[in-house]
């Protein structure tokens, strides 16, 4: 986001960019879950049990912590079809998604 130098905008600018660091809003969470089921699901299966890509069930992800998973979501895995999702979500959002995967998503 472009921040304006004008002092009057400073408060607004801070509060908006600060929002990106906090947990995603309820609307954004719903969007991320939809993305997970529909678009991640294209390779990992809509029920996340795997497809061309591996299973994303908690038992399959045990060896990685949420931060490692977030990095994989954001930057992809070179040499595999896993692409980087950083153009479409922030670090905080990827971390939230990774935490959901670690906990398990009931479907």
């Amino acid at each position: 986001m472009k921040c304006f130098r004008f002092a009057t905008y400073a408060v607004l600018c801070l509060s908006l960019s600060g929002g990106a660091l906090a947990a995603p809003t309820a609307d954004r969470k719903a969007e991320l879950m939809y993305l997970l089921a529909q678009d991640c699901g294209a390779c990992h299966g809509m029920r996340l049990k795997g497809g061309l890509g591996p299973s994303l069930k908690p038992e399959a992800l045990r060896q990685w912590d949420a931060e490692q998973l977030a990095q994989t979501i954001l930057h992809g895995r070179p040499g595999t079809p896993m692409p980087p999702w950083s153009p479409f979500m922030s670090h905080q959002e990827a971390l939230w998604l990774a935490q959901q995967l670690k906990e398990g998503i009931s479907q």
């Binding site: 809509m46 029920r47 049990k49 061309l52």
Partner: protein, 390 residues
């Protein structure tokens, strides 16, 4: 039971059974996958109508369908390993088996008697009787790490064969089912890195693997399997930065116009044009995003292309002669699949996020009508029954 009672029952019984089933031909029918709800719609392409709604098919993300040769039964391959036989006249499941843990599609044999399924887990191909879905043959794939290689790109081929690729180990296998008790395998281990899908030409002669892990495609001439695989378009994309692929392209069917074939590029926002007489590149068409399906209208005059996320709200139409984009349609987010009516006057397009099917007139390229469908993905018309590789 007394004879009289029995005879009376017999008079009524067929009537009762038939009452739920349609009495009509099936040549203008089809099935649409509703991926999120594990259901399918049976539709009429002449009347633009939904005829029935069949539920209970499990996980249908990435589901596909083949038809019995009488065009009455649809075999639905689900993601969860489910293989379901549907009677489209009755709108009912005839038989359903959970044959694997995770699958990716299937094919029906030349004689219509066998249905083969391509599995990720356990990696391999299983062959079933198309009649009662009993297991006929189990073909495990080559071991890879602690599992078996995933299988992809399974198609039927002439002479009662199936052809498929092994994703993890880079192989292509021909499975000859002439004698169902003795499945015969011919293996080619030099396919290339990560074959992600395969297709066969409409005449059933050439099988082509798309490769994700390296440049080019692998070509197998089924008239001369002894000659092995040949790498084609291997200079393609060399030294160029690959773009991220948010959905793998599909090599379904074979978009052919005249002597040219059209394929989705991988990691490039282009449609590749190939000269079929020498298998050399004959051009590239820059398009809106990463192409997923490149489908030729049955007469080959137009190519309709849809795209991977985040460009999956668009369809582009290419003139196959001039190689120019003649129309860009904003169909809506989650535009997943396209299917032409048998002679191509219409194309049906599934738009997931709008929960609808859009029907376009291919000549005017204008929307004709819409049908409601829940999170629709694949669309499969019955004329596939008589096409090799579909």
């Amino acid at each position: 039971m007394r004879l009289k009672t029995f005879l009376i029952l017999m008079t009524f019984l067929p009537g009762v059974l038939l009452a739920d089933c349609l009495q009509r031909g099936t040549g203008d029918m089809g099935v649409i996958i509703e991926r999120a709800s594990g259901s399918v719609l049976v539709i009429d392409t002449s009347a633009h109508k939904v005829l029935s709604h069949v539920e209970g098919l499990g996980d249908l993300s990435h589901a596909s369908v083949v038809y019995s040769r009488d065009e009455r039964y649809a075999y639905v391959f689900g993601r969860d390993g489910g293989l379901t036989k549907i009677d489209i006249l009755c709108g009912k499941i005839v038989k359903r088996v959970l044959q694997g843990g995770n699958s990716i599609g299937g094919a029906i044999s030349q004689d219509g008697k066998l249905v083969a399924v391509s599995n990720y887990t356990p990696g391999g191909v299983k062959v079933f009787s198309s009649d009662d879905l009993s297991l006929v043959a189990d073909i495990p794939a080559t071991p890879f790490k602690d599992k078996r290689s995933k299988t992809v790109g399974l198609v039927d081929a002439p002479d009662q064969r199936f052809v498929f690729a092994l994703y993890d180990t880079g192989e292509t296998w021909i499975l000859d089912m002439t004698d169902p008790a003795r499945p015969a395998l011919t293996k080619f281990t030099n396919t290339g890195r990560l074959p992600y899908d395969g297709l066969i030409t409409p005449d059933g002669r050439y099988y082509i693997n798309g490769l994700f892990g390296e440049d080019g495609l692998a070509l197998l001439d089924l008239w001369h399997p002894e000659k092995g695989l040949k790498r084609i378009l291997d200079h393609y994309g060399k030294g160029e930065q690959q773009l991220p692929v948010y959905k793998m392209p599909h090599l379904e069917g074979w978009a052919v116009a005249g002597n040219r074939a059209f394929l989705p590029a991988v990691g490039h926002h282009e449609v590749l044009v190939m000269n079929m007489s020498d298998w050399r590149e004959a051009g590239r068409i820059p398009v809106h995003g990463q192409p997923v399906f490149v489908m030729a209208r049955p007469d080959g005059r137009q190519l309709w292309v849809n795209f991977a996320f985040p460009d999956n709200d668009t369809v582009q139409i290419i003139d196959s002669e001039t190689l120019k984009i003649i129309k860009t349609l904003k169909t809506g987010k989650g535009t997943l699949h396209m299917e032409f009516t048998p002679r191509g006057e219409e194309v049906w397009i599934s738009v997931r996020d709008k929960d609808e099917i859009q029907v376009y007139d291919t000549r005017t390229m204008k929307l004709k009508t819409r049908l409601k469908a829940q999170k629709p993905s694949g669309i499969f018309f019955t004329d596939r029954a008589h096409k090799t590789g579909l």
